[in-house]
């Protein structure tokens, strides 16, 4: 034992410990069938989105040299029919995955980043700073999220950034509260006391000790928020607040509605994007729940 401590640097030790806990996490995660299903679906969609340039090519969204006639039904050439420009809907669906996943991911990262920053600092510093921050958090919490996001998206110009920001700044308060609670719990632990006594500054304690401990929680939270961010992106695009020149699943639904697919009964235009949104949102939710129940088995979610 003594030989081991002398031969291994503390850093390597920490790395090994982390690797071990990751392995433990995976072992437990594996027992959640729904979580595995969600993960598989996610990997599939991620691969599809990454390979889209190879699979369908970036020309799929061109309108001037669209291959088909407008609004054709499913056929061998176009398995899901064509849109109002005569573009291949299957290709657009695959291409749209890129935007939808990207927006969902970025919005969730923004949201969780804001939430974590505020949560950790509020939990760490306490005092009037925490009071003010938590008041702001509470206040954002009672804001009707969709209404606020619509308002923000209207205020700013139509672009993907707008959508990401609108979702990000309206969904962070939950994360902030969760992270703060966790931070408070972590900071009572003796080793923080020790680090402080050894002269560790605020920055050191927050980044080296608190953050790694709240990270699993943040991870679970991110997964869950991506799911709602993807839905939110679809919602905003559907309300016509998205960038009309970019192909996304929500945008496809909006196009379908504007073209009159509902009353014309063009299900092939309307159904696939909706299913894609639902499947990805569900997959992220399942993953999030599985992660959550691994981290906190007391919750009945996975049972």
């Amino acid at each position: 034992m003594t030989t081991e401590t002398t031969t291994t640097s503390p850093r390597a030790l920490a790395r090994r410990r982390r690797r071990a806990s990751a392995a433990r996490f995976w072992r437990q995660y594996r027992t959640h069938r729904a979580g595995l299903f969600g993960l598989a679906a996610l990997v599939l969609f991620a691969l599809l989105a990454l390979a889209a340039p190879l699979l369908v090519g970036s020309g799929v969204s061109n309108v001037t040299d669209a291959p088909g006639r407008p609004l054709q039904g499913p056929s061998a050439a176009f398995p899901l029919g064509t849109d109002q420009f005569g573009r291949d809907l299957l290709g657009l669906l695959v291409w749209g995955a890129r935007v939808s996943l990207l927006v969902g991911l970025l919005a969730a990262v923004l949201s969780v980043a804001i939430g974590t920053l505020i949560g950790v600092t509020a939990g760490h510093f306490g005092g009037w700073y925490a009071t003010v921050m938590m008041r702001i958090t509470d206040w954002f919490l009672v804001m009707p999220t969709l209404v606020l996001a619509i308002a923000l998206a209207t205020v700013m110009s139509r672009s993907l950034t707008t959508i990401v920001v609108a979702i990000g700044v309206t969904t962070w308060p939950t994360t902030a509260r969760l992270v703060r609670a966790q931070t408070l719990a972590v900071e009572t632990r003796p080793y923080i006391e020790r680090a402080r006594a050894l002269g560790g500054g605020h920055r050191h304690i927050m980044t080296r000790h608190v953050l790694p401990n709240v990270m699993p929680l943040v991870l679970a939270q991110t997964t869950l928020i991506i799911s709602s961010a993807i839905l939110a992106e679809a919602t905003l695009a559907f309300l016509g607040l998205g960038d009309p020149t970019v192909v996304s699943w929500g945008g496809l639904l909006q196009d379908a509605r504007e073209a009159g697919a509902v009353s014309a009964g063009h299900w092939w235009y309307l159904v696939p994007p909706g299913i894609a949104i639902a499947v990805v949102a569900l997959a992220f939710t399942l993953c999030g729940r599985a992660v959550e129940s691994v981290l906190n088995p007391r919750l009945g979610v996975g049972r």
């Binding site: 309108v63 109002q84 420009f85 139509r158 509605r257 009159g260 509902v262 009353s263």
Partner: protein, 615 residues
Amino acid sequence: MDTRTGSLPGRVRLLAGAGAAALTLTASLATPLNPSPAQARAAGDGEKVLTVAVAQSVDSLSPFLAVRLVSTSIQRLMYEFLTNYDPEDARAVPGLATRWESSPDKLTWTYTIRSDSRWSDGKRATAEDAAWTFNKMMTDQGAATANGSFVGNFRKVTAASPTKLVIELKKPQATMTALDVPIVPKHVWEKVGDFSKFNNDTRFPVVGNGPFVLTDYKADSYVRLKANKTFWRGAPKFDELVFRYYKDQDAAVSALRKGEVSFVAGSPSLTPAQAASLEGEPDIRVNDAPGRRFYALATNPGARAKNGQKFGDGHPSLLDQRVRHALFMAVDREAIIDKVFRGHAVEGEGYIPPRFSQYFWKPSPARKLAYDPAKAARLLDRAGYRRDGDGRRLGKDGEPITYRVLCHATDPNDKAIGKYLQEWWGELGIGVRLDCLDNVTDPWLAGKYDLAFDGWSVNPDPDFVLSIHTCAALPATPKDTGATDNFICDERYDELYARQLAEYDPAERADLVKQMQARLYDLGYMNVMAYPNAVEAYRTDQIESITTMPAQAGNIYGQDGYWSWWSAVPAESGGSSGGSSSTGVVLGVVGGVVVLAALGGFAALRRRATAEDRE
């Protein structure tokens, strides 16, 4: 604790009971007790109801405030105007006035008011009412909100006798038979205090003398009107006219298909997909008529005010006529008609749509800026806008050119054509940034755009759509708002405009109007891409016939006049929709019973299973 908790299950049971009851209620209501209302009621008490689907909210029911199409159309039905437009050829025909004449100096107009028009409360409509209406608009700023422009040139309006109205003008005005101002009953409206606040929606029925009388209104739900049986031109054939709200156009089309409504216009018209799907339906007629709108690409000519001050930030290259022509020559109008409108539009030529045949003008083949991307590229080269190594065209400042194109976020055509422009102009080496907004007014009026999708509905008298391109329409200072459409100010155009306004001879005036259009075409600031058709649909098992305007291939919704709804003849009922709806009732009842039985059985099974599971 036991007793305390014991009280909760009771509440839970109550809750569950309530839920079940509500479910049963909803399930039983799921059966269409009231299918196809128009039909059902028509059969019930003999009342013939015409239901029209609309989407636009009423801004006000007061003729002094309302500016939206839905509201002004309804006012056409509620109140008689001095003159009306013939459904055949849109020339002025008698309305409240039976005859009119102008003095030799062109400054005094005398209208003879008919004596057989009565307000719905029994009083006679007279010249006094008309004079009061105009005078109110001339003296009260609140009453001038909607139609103030019509009286701007009036010096004095008097009622010489109950049948004689005299209007004195400051300057000659050719539009005196096109005064689209509802005449209201003085004895009702003189009691109104603040015209800017009164919405005319407090007392029903609203006193009027049009073909219909407004009887009820519920915001975003319905507007109901009853036929005016004593209307001087003859009573409408339908007993009741209902405008019902469907905020979603697809929902409105579905409602038509089911027979919930008799007529759908769409805003501004049905989409190609909707029209195509309705065309195959029995009992539905799709009315694909030449529209009264033009759909154009407006160019920012450098916004400026009357005081000469320039503002806004339009791209300087657009001041070069060759650039404007080149851009338009790279727009494939045939593709737009074919792909975007899918045939439900006519290729754009002059400013005024061909429907107004006496004013329609089209460029000669030599003059026409036909689609020719190669020529467009050469034109740009010649104008000094050359490509750089990456193929991008550079402006005079050496920066690659990217135009901001203002588009209406609510208009699918804007967005679709915007995508095409991106690719067409991309071929020329010019970038396009599509700025889609719910409300484009702000950048538009500030001149902060390069190009914009533009369109106006043209009235039978084209004065208004011509006036918005005169220098006089520019804002006084950059802070003001002018009537100008996109800041065009051209001396030759203005001179022609002044001449046509003072010209009382129709043929001469039409010729001047055509010259104005030619000038506008050459300037290249207003490039008309298409005249979209009015695509509407109605049920032939509910409406037997209806007058379109123009009578040969014309539209139904939003006419200049009340012809469509006034003339609509109800179909003899007994159509097929009644049959299918009774099948609906049966199926609905059966479905409801099956679902309920299944639920009951499921619950019972579950209960038994629980009991058996017990150790």
